[in-house]
């Protein structure tokens, strides 16, 4: 008979009670609440709840702004997967070799991560300014006058201009993940491959990238989640009027708090939650599988 010394079976729960209660009250309960609100009429949660069944969800299907938001979220998602991950990997590999000024450059690259979205948004608003902005100034200076656009004013460029800012901030994040990952790639393995005559490309493809797979999964998951919850940059850089750049999070905010339509806003939140949840479940599933395989 093994008996642990002085630790009653409920001990872990006693220690966990406070965080669990806080988690339940501040995370789980609001999620359930907004799920329920999604089935209520407009602002009726304020004045006495009226249930409308799936009406808010039915309205979503016929709402062009909702589909615009979905389309824009897909653009965010695609660009967040395609750009920061390879770029972050490249930068990380660059910094993985020791050379002069390494730390300085690394810090400079990481700097955007330390800024708040409000600061980033304000800086980029100036960069994008049609007349005085650095971007258009540069384009004009190198004779590409016709490429100097009103980036945040024209419907066609708004989303692209905003995603670019998000990507700019995401690259250093991914870089840090890969830098940590690269520490786990044994130098002997790479050296052995070099002796065997593997080219740089072969070493990258067959040794480094496979060994970085865990870091890649984390980077992808974070990028997906960050792209789905894009809001701050849009809110700041469009003076809260996203118009053509609307995404689910911004449309949810405007519907609920701008138009006092809490029912509809909750329905949008539920859709966004389900989409995010699907990605998270895939990720958790993978992590659990890896754990049990080991």
């Amino acid at each position: 008979m093994k008996k642990s010394i002085g630790a009653p079976p409920w001990a872990p729960w006693a220690f966990l009670a406070l965080p669990l209660i806080l988690y339940a009250v501040w995370v789980i309960l609001p999620i359930c609440q907004s799920l329920a609100f999604a089935f209520t009429k407009r602002d009726s949660i304020v004045y006495g709840i009226q249930w409308v069944g799936f009406r808010n969800f039915a309205r979503l299907l016929g709402d062009p702004t909702f589909w615009l938001a979905i389309k824009n979220n897909i653009i965010w998602l695609a660009l967040f997967l395609l750009v920061p991950i390879p770029l972050g990997l490249g930068v990380a590999m660059l910094f993985n070799n020791e050379h002069r000024g390494n730390k300085v450059y690394k810090t400079l690259f990481y700097l955007p991560m330390t800024l708040s979205f409000a600061v980033i948004g304000t800086i980029w608003m100036w960069i994008y300014s049609p007349d005085f902005g650095v971007l258009n100034g540069f384009l004009r200076a190198i004779g590409l006058e016709e490429l100097a656009k009103p980036w945040l004013g024209d419907k066609r460029y708004m989303t692209g201009a905003l995603v670019a800012v998000g990507v700019w901030r995401q690259v250093p994040y991914v870089m840090i993940l890969y830098l940590a990952g690269l520490k786990g790639v044994p130098a002997e393995l790479v050296e052995a491959a070099m002796i065997d005559g593997a080219t740089w490309g072969q070493r990258l493809r067959h040794i480094v990238i496979p060994l970085l797979a865990p870091a890649t999964v984390v980077a992808m998951t974070i990028s997906i989640i960050d792209s789905l919850r894009a809001f701050d940059i849009i809110y700041v850089m469009t003076n809260t009027k996203a118009r053509a750049a609307e995404v689910l999070a911004s449309y949810m905010y405007t519907s609920a708090f701008g138009y006092s339509d809490f029912g509809y806003g909750s329905a949008i939140a539920v859709v966004q939650f389900l989409i995010t949840l699907a990605f998270i479940l895939v990720y958790i599933g993978r992590v659990l599988r890896d754990e049990t395989e080991r």
Binding site: V46, G153, K155
Partner: protein, 409 residues
Amino acid sequence: MRKASLSLLALFGIAASIGAQPLVVQSYMSDEAPKNAFAALVAEFQKQNPAIKVTVNTVAHEQFKTQLVNYLTAKDAPDVLTWFAGFRMQQYAMKGLLEPLPESTFPGGSFVKEFPAAFKPAASYNSKIYFMPQSWYWWAVYYNKDVFAQYKLSVPKTWDEFLSVCETLKQNGVAPVSIGAKDTWTAGGWFDYMNVAVNGGTAHQKLTGGTVSYTDPSVLKTFGYIADLAKKGYILENAASYSWQEAVTPLVEGTAGMYLMGQFIMDSVPADKKASIDFFSFPKVGRPDYGVDTPTDGFMIPAKAKNKAAAKKFLAFIATKKAQDMMNVTLGRLSANMTGAIPNAEAERGLAMVKGAAFAAQFYDRDAPEEMAAKGMNAIVDILQAPDSYKDILTALDKERVRIYADLK
């Protein structure tokens, strides 16, 4: 002796508890100038009513707007709230969240003794008054006098004259019309003035009331005029990239000629340039009469307020000429009180323009439900960028109208 001192103490106690009669005012006046002016006003009220203890909670303007429903429905609702006249207020009266103000609340015995009768509809719902007006301002076409003088232009009175002014400015490389459409509400002024000029006040009221379609021929005509300005290239290039203040700069510098804006535009004009900027009444479009936008700011009492008697006393104080002057002369605004002092010559002309108007609106986003106005203003910005597809844009907008007004019921 001892008994006497005890009863004296009791008396003190009662006096102290009366003295502590609290009055909570929730205010959105978070900018420095109005905040200080309002604090002075409250201090004056406090001096006159030592039995009431006023607490002012100031909340940032935008945050206040999103929190208002919470204030109104909270168990311990504030006693007085700052707010806007028109549908923006009436929607809450409709839900029974506001305390009606009987005519006896007004120092002169009735609303019309203090304020113009024209202000009453926007302050009432279902023939009960819910709103105490404090100040208002006008919208007009602001223009750069130096630019007009340089190209020998005179103030346009009709739409044709307006278009020819635009053409001359454009020919000379000056953007005729500035607008900071990144803040979409700047387009709301164009909606109000253009539609009232084309269709008159009554028709405009029906449109913001939701009973007229945005695809109605009369409304299409209004938006046709706006689309025409964009098509002719009379709107400042990249307008949707600028906030309303950023679009003031070209007007002040003379690279733009005109800007349809509220009187508060002058706050953004540098002191040494103020003399160059003036305003004129929106040009007439085939109708003999004209309308104006006169957004009115003031106060209301939540139905759940704890201390309604003190709240009404406070509002009665706010209504007086003295109280309105204290606030509005300082800020250069017009008092809602008819006897209020006119702060300057500019205000005198603004007042004359308003007095001559056949119709006064609040503003698109105060007369129509917020969602309708927000989507309508988005639509106008879209039209400015794609004037050829204005009919499609309005068809989409009208679908929203049908749903939004049906949802209100």
